[in-house]
């Protein structure tokens, strides 16, 4: 996106901050972003900064303990969101699903000031939760060089544009065009066309028009719809039967554009505008992105974290190994203050009031399926493996396990699905898993190990389920060297063992492979030969190995 377009989005937002909701700015930290953020001065002031790791009380408001104790009455602290002006959520890619849902609820209630989300994510998986993206009109990706930095829009009269905004009229034609573009881009949400309509209006108001022009609609479509596209429009399929007929049609259409409202059938042009703005990695983005709340970071103490779900606090003795729940302690002390004869403004706390924080220890399990999709595992076997994983999935679902999917074939391994509890997503990814190529067993194990380590850091208990025929023939460096491949696999296996990760090796080969049994031994895991992979047997093998 060019500098001019990006700043124009901010200008539109400045015209209708309440209606457009806000903007996601995806850019790495740097001079370009810094220069661009100057444009936020066009938005309502003051700016308040939100951070995904902030305490809930600070964001949404809550008990102000200090004041409550000082004044002896309930004092509520206002959260950041009660301020007017503009909210800037930094590090949007670290925002977890729960915070995203709570912020979204505020947006829905109309209690959210215009929201600017700064997203520094680098991978497609590392993104602002889609819940939030959905509720903001704009999403821009700044990938500009320093010399592309331009000036900020200054020649607009925003006060006048805001005033004019209410008078900008919409026509049914405009609505229909926007809706049709949404359909062809596969956008189902009703929010998208509504945002586009508002953006078009803001654009008209900014340009001093009170009737929507084709330019307004093109701008709006490019800004509001292109990043929501879930499929490429497929004109070739639709028009194949009669390619000749479209052109005279278009000629007629262009004549109509001469009409008073300047709005003929300009769907094609509008669509082009959206197409021109389709992000380069659209195919990657076709999968729902960021839904997993990528913010669950290493080491960060998340409230809902699996490491310890907060349980109701219990009376107890402070020992230095446990943590005092201050509020609960004060709560339990509060009723006795008169009896204990506390002076005003002071609280008498006795050891019996101490409340100790409790966390739930049992952590969730994540099953990491590493599926061999190589040519030797053969298409038929791959189908069986898929069947088995699906069966295991339904059991994992019942046990509330997380599941994750890694496939390896050709030269490398790939994480198809980071840990999730969503059956829908897993099934979708699994169904689209292609087969063929060499067997980079070591690479598959490396990928699975990386996932397992991340899961461990998040307090989950990983378990790797390896489905392969064991004919490793691609080494870690990508060379087709059977011997090196086996050595590499064995050394990764020892790594896995040193991490004390549970492993199950399901042999998909026609005959049990001694090598694979050795590998399972290296990992200190379980080896289950399944000469004829039968989905049900496989699933029961895993179940019994897990002891459930």
């Amino acid at each position: 996106m060019t500098w001019e377009r990006a700043t124009h989005a901010i200008a539109l937002l400045a015209v209708d901050p309440a209606g457009l909701g806000g903007i996601v700015i995806r850019a790495r930290h740097g001079p370009v972003r810094a220069a661009f953020l100057e444009s936020l001065s066009l938005l309502p002031s003051p700016q308040s900064r939100l951070h995904p790791m902030m305490e809930d009380d600070a964001i949404f408001g809550g008990l102000d303990l200090t004041e409550t104790l000082r004044l002896g009455r309930f004092v509520e602290r206002e959260g950041l969101l009660s301020r007017s002006g503009t909210m800037v959520l930094t590090m949007g890619e670290r925002c977890d699903a729960t915070l995203a849902a709570r912020l979204s609820a505020q947006v829905d209630k109309g209690k959210m000031p215009p929201l600017v989300i700064l997203d520094e994510g680098s991978d497609p998986d590392e993104a602002t939760p889609s819940l939030l993206i959905e509720r903001l009109a704009f999403h821009i990706t700044l990938d500009l060089a320093v010399d592309q930095i331009g000036i900020l829009p200054s020649d607009y009269d925003f006060a006048q544009a805001r005033e004019r905004l209410d008078r900008v009229r919409t026509s049914v034609d405009a609505i229909r065009q926007i809706t049709e573009v949404c359909l062809s881009l596969g956008i189902d949400s009703a929010r998208a066309p509504l945002f586009a309509l508002r953006a078009a209006r803001a654009n008209a108001a900014l340009a001093g028009r009170s009737i929507l022009s084709s330019d307004d609609i093109e701008t709006a479509v490019a800004f509001c719809l292109s990043h929501r596209a879930v499929k490429f429009p497929s004109p070739s399929e639709d028009e194949d039967p009669a390619p000749q007929e479209t052109s005279p049609d278009q000629c007629e259409a262009s004549e109509q554009i001469e009409g008073p409202d300047q709005l003929g059938r300009l769907d094609d042009r509008v669509l082009e505008a959206a197409m021109a703005n389709l992000p380069a990695g659209l195919l990657d983005g076709l999968q729902p992105r960021g839904t997993l709340g990528a913010g669950s970071g290493a080491g960060a103490k998340r409230k809902g974290n699996r490491r310890g779900r907060p349980r109701p606090s219990r009376p107890g003795v402070l020992s230095g190994r446990n943590r005092l729940d201050l509020i609960a302690t004060l709560r339990s002390a509060a009723p006795w203050q008169k009896l204990r004869g506390a002076e005003a403004g002071r609280i008498k706390v006795s050891p019996s009031d101490f409340r100790i924080r409790q966390f739930e220890d049992k952590s969730d399990r994540v099953l990491i399926f590493a599926v061999d999709a190589s040519g030797s595992a053969a298409i038929a076997r791959l189908a069986e493996a898929k069947g088995a994983v699906e069966l295991l999935l339904s059991e994992a679902y019942a046990r509330r396990d997380h599941v994750s999917l890694v496939s390896f074939r050709g030269q490398a391994a790939q994480t198809l699905l980071p840990p999730t509890r969503s059956l829908v997503q897993t099934k979708r990814r699994l169904a689209g898993l292609p087969g063929g190529g060499g067997t980079p067993l070591a690479a598959g194990l490396v990928e699975a190990l990386a996932l397992a380590e991340t899961a461990q850091r998040q307090g989950m208990t990983p378990c790797i389920v390896l489905l392969t025929d064991g004919r490793a023939n691609i080494a870690l460096n990508g060379d087709a060297d059977r011997k090196a491949a086996a050595t590499d696999a064995a050394s990764i296996a020892r790594h896995i063992r040193s991490h004390k990760i549970d492993t199950i090796v399901l042999d998909l080969g026609n005959r049990p492979t001694r090598d694979l049994e050795g590998l399972a031994h290296e990992m200190d895991g379980m080896y289950v030969p399944l000469p004829r992979a039968d989905a049900r047997r496989m699933s029961s093998a895993v179940s019994s190995a897990l002891g459930t």
Partner: protein, 334 residues
């Protein structure tokens, strides 16, 4: 504060609208779960429902919306016991809510100022005799879910903490909405919802244009729009009230009961809850249609929403549970 979008102005989404109307006719059906993609109007419909519900009679100022003065709990400390009409409560259960706010807890203000142990009622108290709405229900923390499961089952909220010992009625219609991509619901929680519907955006251009037109009119020409649709809403409210009266006079024939049992058997829906819900839903639907007895048409119409979330999960079946119910309906009620 802007008035919510009118219920009758929602384009299409007939199954979702019917499900909500049925719970309004007979709250004992036990709530609705709405699953669907973003921007399909899930929460719009729930908010709209509030305006549609007939008012209830309740003791003024009663924290649990008691119907009669006798039912007002002692801890409420109410002096006036005047009964008046009030809108049916629709209470939001926000994500990230603390247990204290859900169940109620020690009133910290009274404790601090007077040294008095008083109970501050929570959301469950406020939702009594009304609706409890959870948006993004699949993101709800497990410990809050556990609380809800217990209360939704017993219809009573028991608070035993901080030296308090309080119990109060908490009967509410549970309405949840969510996006299946955010994760699945625990089967135990699924089971607590009487009905479940899947929503999707309309597929025709004309319907979609209509959606945007109405939404746009709602925002830009609010007053006129509300006047236009409030009349329609009043009509539906009248139908709900009429159906509430008619439902007791409805005849349930043996053949209807047999159909329902056969359908549940065929689908292997666990427990009797499926049968009961299907019966109640069919009855409410018949009353809504101003019919005098439950017929196969009624059962056919409500079977998917009453049963689809009670089936054993089959990840290998791509068609989804709704299609399985429809197939069974075709077989059994052929």
């Amino acid at each position: 504060m802007k008035q919510p979008f009118p219920f009758s102005a929602i384009v299409g989404q007939e199954e979702m609208k019917t499900a909500m109307i049925l719970t309004a006719i007979d709250p004992s059906i036990g709530g609705v779960l709405v699953f669907g993609d973003r921007g399909t109007g899930k929460s719009t419909a729930v908010r709209a429902l509030a305006a549609l519900l007939p008012p209830i009679k309740r003791v003024e100022g009663c924290p649990v919306n008691s119907e009669t003065a006798k039912a007002v709990p002692v801890w409420a400390g109410l002096e006036t016991k005047k009964v008046s009409k009030a809108p049916t409560p629709v209470v939001d259960l926000p994500l990230g809510v603390t247990e204290d706010r859900v169940t109620g807890a020690l009133d910290i203000e009274k404790a601090l100022t007077n040294g008095e142990k008083a109970f501050q009622p929570g959301l469950l108290a406020r939702a009594n005799r009304g609706y409890l709405y959870i948006d993004e229900v699949n993101l709800l923390e497990d410990h809050v879910v556990d609380l809800l499961l217990d209360v939704a089952q017993s219809g009573e909220n028991v608070v035993e903490r901080e030296g308090l010992s309080i119990r109060h009625p908490a009967r509410f219609v549970l309405v949840g909405s969510g996006n299946p991509e955010e994760g699945e619901l625990r089967p135990q929680l699924l089971d607590r919802f009487g009905l479940s519907v899947d929503v999707a955006s309309p597929t025709s251009v004309d319907d979609r244009v209509e959606v945007i037109k109405r939404r746009d009119a709602y925002e830009t020409d609010h007053e006129a729009f509300m006047v236009r649709w409030r009349a329609e809403d009043a009509l539906v409210r009248g139908q709900i009230e009429a159906a509430r009266g008619a439902i007791h006079r409805l005849k349930t024939t043996d053949s209807a009961l047999r159909d329902i049992a056969a359908l549940c058997l065929k689908l292997g829906a666990d427990g009797l809850r499926g049968e009961l819900t299907l019966l109640k839903a069919a009855r409410a639907f018949a009353a809504f249609r101003e019919d005098t007895a439950i017929g196969r048409d009624h059962i056919r119409a409500v079977a998917p929403m009453a049963l689809r979330h009670r089936l054993r999960r089959d990840p290998l079946d791509e068609a989804g549970s709704g299609a399985r119910v429809s197939r069974a309906v075709e077989d059994v009620l052929a």
